[in-house]
C-alpha cells in the first residue's frame, strides 16, 4: 500500500530530488567535458533517501555524509552555488576550494562533512551526538553511509558506542548494492545489514529507498523516537547507484540489463506519478525541473568565472600552533 503523503510535502520532495538529480547530471557532464578537476561520486538514483530523511531534521540537528555526499548536502539545504564553486576549486566554494566534492561540508546547516574514507562518518556522527548529549542539547544526528561501510570496523564500533550511551543517532544505510565496483553481496557474510545492527543493539527498519514518501514516513517515526531518547535507530534503505563508482568509472562491469531495470525504478518518476494522482499537472513538475536546470546553469556559469583561491590560502586553516610558513621563493 502506498504511503499517504500530502501534496505540498511530496512536491517539496520532488523539488529536492530534482535539484540533486540536476546537480549530479551537471557534475557528470562537467567532469566528462574536463571542466572540473578531480573526480566526483554521483548519487543519481538515490535521491529519495536524503530527501526523505533530511525533511525530518530540525534546524539544530546535524548530519554526516559519505564520499557520495552531494545529495545529503542539497537535501539539508546546502548552498548549490557554493557547492558548485567547490567542485570547480574556486574562491567562495563551500570549503574555499580546499576540500572539493569529497569533502563538502556546511557547518551552518549542521552538515559535518562528506568524507573520503568509507565509514569514517560513523564515529564522527556518534561523537556529534555524544557532544550534544553531554551539553544537554536536544539534537539528532543523521549518519548516512553505504552498504560497503558495514564491512569496516568503525561500523561495529560506532553502533555499539551509540547503543551503549543511548545516543540520538539515526544511522541511514543507503544500500545501493555496490561496494565501489564489487557487488556487496559477494563480500558480505551473514544475515544482512539490519541483522548486524540489531545484534549491536540498534533496532533497524527497512524501507524502499526509491519511494520518497515511504522514506519520509519511516524516517519521521525514527527521528521522533531518537529525539525522544530511544537511543540509536538504523534505517536501511534499498536503492541502486545508476552511475559507476566515480565519474571516471563507466560501470562496464555491470549487467546493462540490471542498470536498465534499476532506472525504471526512478524515485523522481515514482514521485511524479503519485503527484499526478494528487492532481498535480505535469506542467507544474516540468516547471520545477526547468527552475532547477536554470539554477544549475547559473551556478556553473558563475563558478566557471570565479577566481581561483589565492596561492597564500595553501597555508591557512592548517593549525594555529605551529602553522606552516610559506616557502621562500628560490
Amino acid at each position: 500500500m502506498a504511503t499517504q503523503i500530502g501534496r505540498e510535502r511530496l512536491l517539496a520532495h520532488f523539488r529536492t530530488m530534482a535539484r540533486i538529480r540536476a546537480f549530479e547530471e551537471t557534475a557528470e557532464r562537467l567532469y566528462n567535458e574536463k571542466r572540473i578537476p578531480g573526480f566526483v561520486h554521483l548519487s543519481s538514483g538515490q535521491e529519495a533517501i536524503p530527501a526523505g530523511v533530511c525533511a525530518n531534521l530540525a534546524a539544530e540537528d546535524r548530519l554526516t555524509s559519505t564520499h557520495r555526499g552531494h545529495g545529503h548536502t542539497i537535501a539539508r539545504g546546502g548552498d548549490i552555488q557554493a557547492m558548485m564553486l567547490e567542485l570547480f576549486g574556486r574562491q567562495g566554494g563551500s570549503c574555499g576550494g580546499k576540500g572539493g566534492s569529497m569533502h563538502i561540508a556546511d557547518m551552518r546547516i549542521g552538515m559535518l562533512g562528506a568524507n573520503g574514507v568509507v565509514a569514517a562518518g560513523l564515529p564522527i556522527a556518534v561523537g556529534a551526538a555524544h557532544a550534544a548529549k553531554l551539553a544537554g542539547e536536544p539534537r539528532v544526528v543523521a549518519c548516512f553511509f553505504g552498504d560497503g561501510a558495514v564491512n569496516r570496523g568503525p561500523f561495529l564500533e560506532s553502533l555499539n558506542w551509540a547503543a551503549v550511551h543511548r545516543l540520538p543517532v539515526l544511522f541511514v544505510c543507503e544500500d545501493n548494492r555496490w561496494s565501489a565496483t564489487t557487488p556487496t553481496r559477494l563480500t558480505t557474510a551473514g544475515p544482512g545489514i539490519a541483522a548486524r545492527a540489531e545484534a549491536l543493539g540498534v533496532p533497524a527498519c527497512a524501507v524502499d529507498g526509491n519511494d520518497v514518501a515511504a522514506v519520509d514516513h519511516l524516517a519521521g517515526e525514527l527521528v521522533a523516537s531518537v529525539r525522544a531518547g530511544s537511543g540509536p535507530r538504523l534505517l536501511l534503505a534499498a536503492t541502486y547507484r545508476w552511475s559507476g563508482h566515480t565519474s571516471a568509472d563507466a560501470g562496464a562491469y555491470r549487467d546493462p540489463a540490471e542498470v536498465a531495470r534499476a532506472k525504471t525504478d526512478d524515485p523522481l518518476r515514482r514521485a511524479a506519478q503519485v503527484l499526478g494522482g494528487l492532481g498535480v499537472a505535469a506542467a507544474e513538475l516540468a516547471a520545477i525541473e526547468n527552475d532547477v536546470a536554470a539554477e544549475l546553469a547559473r551556478a556553473v556559469e558563475m563558478a566557471e568565472r570565479a577566481p581561483f583561491p589565492d596561492p597564500a590560502a595553501l597555508y591557512t586553516d592548517v593549525q594555529d600552533i605551529g602553522a606552516p610558513t610559506a616557502r621562500v621563493p628560490a
Binding site: C95, G99, P123, G127, A128, H130, A132, A135, V164, D317
Partner: protein, 322 residues
C-alpha cells in the same frame, strides 16, 4: 615548588582544567580504575562517568567520537593506553582530526588532546613500547608535545587542552613515576619552547621525553672525559624550538640528536637536516636500531639508547671532526 611525580602533576593539571571548563570530556579504556598508569586516579569519582568515560576497547571509535564531539563544541581528552594502540585509530587521527579544519576550509576546528603513553617500559616488547613521534610530526595539522620532566608534565597537558588544534601528547611511561621539583602543574606551558637542561660549549645534545635523562647522563659521562655538552630538552616536537637549537649549535659547532625511537627516518633526522642547512655545522644522530623492540632484558638493553651509548657516540663524533 614541591616534590611531585610526573603522573601526579598530570592528574592535578587535568582535574584543574576539568573544573575550569565543563566542555572537557575524557574518553578511554579503564579510566574509572585510574588508567594503566593511574593518570586518571580519582577523576571519575570527582567528575562522574559522563565526563570520565570508560569506553569500549574501540580505538577507532574513541578517536572518531572525539573528532565529532570536538567539531561540535566538546573538548575531548583521549587516552590511547599505549601509543601503539593509536595505530588502530590512525584514520581517525591522521585523515580526520588533523585534516578536517583544512578540508572544510576553516569551517570547523578539532580541539582535542590525544594522550599516548610512549616508549620502553617493563619489558613490554614490540607492541607496547614504540616511540613513533616522527609519524605524528609528519602530519600537517597536528601539534606534538613530549614532556621530559615532571615539571613540564602538568603544564604541557594544560596547554594541550587549551589549544584549539588537535594535540598529540606523548608521555614517556618510564617518566610517570619519576619525581622532581614541580612548580604549579596547572599553569599552561608555552608550546614551542625548548628548555636548557645543562649549558656546555663543545657539543649540543638535543633530546626529548625519556631521552632527556639519558642525554643528561651522557653529559655527565662526557664531562668526566673533558667534553662539555650542552643539553636541550626539546619539549615540543611540533612546533619545535629551532631558534634555541640553532643558537646553541652556533656556539658549540656540533649537534648530536638523541632519540629512543628508531634512528632511520626518525625526528632526529629532521633536526639534524635543518641545523645542517642553516648553519653548516657538523650534525649526527643516535637512535635505536631498525629492529622491532625485543622482550628479553638482555636484548632490550642492547636496543636501548642509554647514556653510555649517547656519550660514546658523542665522543666518536667529536673525535672524527676535530
Amino acid at each position: 615548588m614541591s616534590r611531585m611525580s610526573f603522573v601526579e602533576a598530570t592528574r592535578q593539571a587535568l582535574a584543574a582544567e576539568m573544573r575550569r571548563d565543563g566542555r572537557i570530556v575524557v574518553l578511554g579504556e579503564d579510566l574509572g580504575r585510574g588508567g594503566v598508569f593511574q593518570q586518571y586516579r580519582g577523576l571519575q569519582a570527582e567528575f562522574g562517568p559522563a565526563r570520565v568515560v570508560d569506553t569500549p576497547i574501540s580505538e577507532s571509535a574513541i578517536m572518531g567520537v572525539a573528532v565529532g564531539a570536538a567539531m561540535c563544541g566538546a573538548r575531548p581528552v583521549v587516552e590511547m593506553r599505549y601509543l601503539d594502540f593509536t595505530l588502530c585509530a590512525v584514520d581517525e587521527l591522521v585523515n580526520q582530526a588533523a585534516k578536517l579544519r583544512y578540508m572544510l576550509g576553516g569551517q570547523a576546528r578539532v580541539p582535542m588532546v590525544v594522550r599516548q603513553p610512549i616508549g620502553l617500559w617493563a619489558n613490554c616488547a614490540a607492541q607496547h613500547s614504540q616511540s613513533l613521534e616522527a609519524w605524528w610530526v609528519h602530519v600537517p595539522g597536528l601539534v606534538v608535545l613530549c614532556p621530559g620532566d615532571p615539571a613540564d608534565a602538568g603544564p604541557m597537558l594544560a596547554a594541550a587542552i587549551r589549544a584549539d588544534d588537535p594535540v598529540v601528547l606523548l608521555e614517556y611511561k618510564e617518566l610517570f613515576p619519576a619525581e622532581g621539583e614541580v612548580g604549579d602543574p596547572t599553569l599552561p606551558a608555552e608550546i614551542g619552547r625548548a628548555r636548557l637542561v645543562r649549558p656546555g660549549h663543545d657539543l649540543t645534545l638535543v633530546a626529548w621525553g625519556g631521552s632527556v635523562r639519558e642525554a643528561a647522563g651522557a653529559a655527565e659521562l662526557l664531562a668526566a672525559r673533558g667534553i662539555s655538552a650542552e643539553v636541550i630538552d626539546l619539549r615540543s616536537l611540533w612546533p619545535w624550538d629551532s631558534a634555541m637549537v640553532l643558537a646553541s649549535v652556533a656556539r658549540t659547532g656540533h649537534l648530536l640528536v638523541a632519540q629512543e625511537a628508531t634512528e632511520v627516518a626518525g625526528f632526529g633526522a629532521e633536526i639534524a637536516a635543518l641545523v645542517a642547512e642553516e648553519t653548516g655545522a657538523r650534525v649526527a644522530r643516535i637512535g635505536a636500531p631498525r629492529t622491532p623492540i625485543p622482550f628479553s632484558p638482555a636484548l632490550e638493553a642492547a636496543y636501548r639508547v642509554d647514556a653510555a651509548r649517547i656519550a660514546a657516540r658523542a665522543a666518536a663524533f667529536l673525535a672524527r671532526h676535530r
